[in-house]
């Protein structure tokens, strides 16, 4: 319990450090939001002088003419008051934007995680039980290959094969545009239950499966390797011999004794891998035009929309931190030795 409280106490510190870094990094990028806005808004006959004049006006309007320090100060002040600001483009409220996009990203990453764990556990256990056979070799080879494939390549491949050639799956977005969907929580599955609209589920799954699998495959390859090593280690433990001595069947030994004890290193890896999964979701969401935080972040960066970049990065960091607190809790549930009285 103390461990978890400690972790939770660290969350604000992590977020402060991270937001500071993002604040600085985005301002170090060449180009500024004001020039972009001024150039974009100018008509064909605008001279360089017009654009410069506009730029100054816009800078003043956005508060970007103030010193970095005072910008940083008001940025922190806003965050403390849970105000993430509004977009330079269109003035949308960032909190509202995150409310729309964060559930989409959570759906995507959680689905990817589930797929990765299912595939990784199955193949990892299989490889461990069939150690040294061709099944083991094949599983590990496929695992390594999928682990090494970049997300964008997998995503594009998936789009071409399942979307363009086979026409089995939609390749863009999160739900069909024609669908009449009035988000309540913005989690489609939850809304489908709350609003009693089961017809939402299939289109949602259809859109989710390709990006989630794309994201999952590389992680699955990694999990396969960890699971295999971990299961092999536990299989050599004395208490497995005790289980055999009891006359248990191999499948009962696996279920009751091996899996739980080999899940600890796997859970650790899952927490850490969730970070790279979030990184991967930025790319995957872009490839699939999936309306998540990653997509929001990329557009924010391209447009130098500082508040969006800051808000999206904070949201991703918060998600990662919370997942790892959850992993710590899972640890305590799985291994009684870690529970201190």
């Amino acid at each position: 319990m103390r461990l978890v409280l400690k972790r939770l106490a660290a969350v604000p510190v992590v977020l402060l450090v991270l937001s500071t870094m993002v604040f600085a990094a985005i301002r170090l990028l060449p180009g500024s939001p004001a020039t972009g806005l001024a150039a974009g808004g100018a008509s064909g006959q605008a001279t360089a002088a017009d654009i410069t004049a506009d730029t100054e006006k816009i800078n003043a309007a956005l508060g970007l003419d103030k010193s970095l320090l005072s910008q940083y100060g008001s940025f922190l002040n806003d965050i403390v008051h849970l105000d993430l600001g509004s977009s330079f483009y269109g003035g949308n409220d960032i909190t509202g934007l995150l409310g729309d996009t964060l559930p989409a990203t959570i759906e995507l990453t959680v689905a990817a995680m589930l797929i990765a764990v299912l595939i990784g556990m199955f193949t990892g256990v299989l490889a461990a039980l069939r150690r040294g056979t061709w099944i083991d070799t094949a599983t590990r080879t496929i695992g390594t290959v999928s682990f090494s494939l970049p997300w964008f390549a997998l995503g594009v491949l998936g789009i071409v094969v399942f979307g363009v050639w086979l026409r089995w799956l939609p390749v863009i977005g999160r739900l069909p545009n024609a669908l009449d969907y009035h988000p309540l929580t913005n989690f489609v599955l939850l809304d489908a239950i709350l609003q009693d609209r089961p017809e939402l589920i299939w289109p949602w799954l259809e859109h989710l499966i390709l990006p989630a699998t794309t994201l999952a495959l590389s992680m699955a390859g990694f999990i396969t390797r960890i699971v295999r090593a971990s299961v092999l280690e536990v299989l050599g433990d004395d208490f497995v011999r005790t289980a055999r001595m009891k006359g248990l069947s191999p499948s009962a030994i696996l279920r009751r004794h091996v899996l739980r004890n080999s899940s600890l290193p796997i859970v650790t890896v899952l927490g850490l891998q969730f970070g790279s999964l979030l990184g991967g979701s930025v790319i995957t969401e872009t490839v699939f035009s999936y309306p998540g935080v990653g997509n929001l972040l990329v557009n924010g960066i391209l447009q130098r929309d500082y508040p969006i970049v800051q808000g999206a990065a904070l949201a991703i960091a918060l998600l990662f931190t919370l997942v790892n607190v959850f992993v710590d809790l899972l640890y305590l549930a799985l291994d009684p030795r870690l529970r201190k009285a």
């Binding site: 433990d237 004395d238 208490f239 011999r241 005790t242 289980a243 055999r244 001595m245 009891k246 006359g247 248990l248 069947s249 009962a252 009751r256 004794h257 739980r260 004890n261 799985l334 291994d335 009684p336 030795r337």
Partner: protein
């Protein structure tokens, strides 16, 4: 007391190792009678654990080659399939392992681990199995068994964990209990408590116990019969008193001489057997102990002496070809 329960005939256990095939057990004939405590004595690597694990096929695997026969209740357990063996394991023949902390599942409550043993062989409701498990924990001398049943192994002391291990072993009232160095990981006072517990359970339940140990003190305390193993073979066997008081094989004598005795002369250094036990793949054609034996002569290297009665009672067997009329063979300490 005389009914034979388990009969081992020509048992061999060989393991594939990088250097070739390691003969861990090189032909053992041994019988276990109902309700007796048979001590299997020897140094590390003498084959006593390999022997006992192969009784229930616990060392089966792609790199193990087990030959010979283990006859139990009319079945040959060496030839038996895994499924048949599973019905014997834990029900008719159970094992108490030495390092209970490692041998118990760290993520399962000990009561559940005992109950699992029961439910594997008897289809009774979980609740009933749990109650029976707590009863067993009480029987092996754990105070407040209901509370202990809910504990995880790491929350118990070493002695308690070993008692849990014994409770698991006894859960289905097996005919044979193999106790593999059950006291090695414990300190001396706990050791003797656990031994007395085994002795009492053997008396109460009529369980035959194969007690694997390298500790002759343990043998003296509880064993009915003793078999001494060296390099995969039994070099001497007989009743406890025959083997401990009239040892015939120089290896047994060496073991006895290396035990400190309260009533013996004070010595600066206990005598040890020179050299080290055979652990490699290659074995000499003659007596395996000859290279370390103080009494060895040329004939010892010719052939492996058979295990037979050479001195004393008809059940006292040994593998030494030396002339017994010589005083030199008497124990010196």
């Amino acid at each position: 007391m005389t009914e034979t329960l388990l009969e081992i005939r020509g048992l061999t256990v060989e393991f594939d190792v990088p250097a070739g095939r390691l003969p861990a057990v090189a032909g053992v004939d041994l019988s276990l009678r109902r309700g007796e405590i048979l001590a299997l004595v020897g140094e590390s690597g003498s084959g006593k654990s390999a022997l006992s694990m192969s009784l229930v096929g616990l060392n089966r695997g792609p790199h193990a080659h087990i030959g010979g026969e283990v006859l139990f209740g009319g079945h040959d357990l060496v030839a038996a399939g895994e499924k048949e063996l599973r019905s014997v394991r834990g029900k008719d023949i159970a094992v108490v392992f030495q390092d209970a902390l490692a041998a118990l599942n760290p993520t399962q409550r000990v009561g559940d681990q005992v109950a699992e043993m029961i439910r594997t062989h008897r289809k009774i409701p979980k609740k009933q199995a749990r109650e029976r498990a707590a009863g067993l924990l009480g029987e092996v001398g754990i105070g407040n068994p209901a509370q202990a049943a809910r504990a995880y192994p790491h929350q118990l002391s070493g002695g308690m964990r070993q008692r849990v291990m014994i409770a698991i072993g006894l859960a289905n009232d097996p005919a044979v209990l193999i106790a593999d160095e059950p006291t090695t990981a414990l300190d001396v006072t706990i050791q003797s408590q656990v031994l007395r517990l085994l002795k009492r359970l053997q008396a109460d339940h009529g369980t035959a116990i194969v007690l694997i140990t390298h500790d002759l003190g343990v043998v003296a305390e509880v064993a009915d019969r003793v078999a001494v193993m060296y390099a995969g073979r039994i070099v001497e066997s007989g009743t406890r008193d025959e083997v401990l008081f009239h040892p015939q094989h120089p290896y047994t004598m060496g073991l006895l001489n290396s035990v400190p005795r309260v009533d013996g002369p004070a010595v600066a250094r206990l005598p040890a057997i020179a050299g080290s036990p055979l652990t490699g793949v290659a074995r000499p054609p003659g007596c395996a102990f000859a290279p370390r034996c103080a009494f060895a002569h040329a004939a010892c290297g010719d052939a492996i002496p058979p295990l037979m009665q050479r001195y004393g009672g008809s059940a006292h067997l040994d593998r030494c070809v030396l002339d017994r009329s010589r005083d030199a063979l008497e124990v010196t300490a």
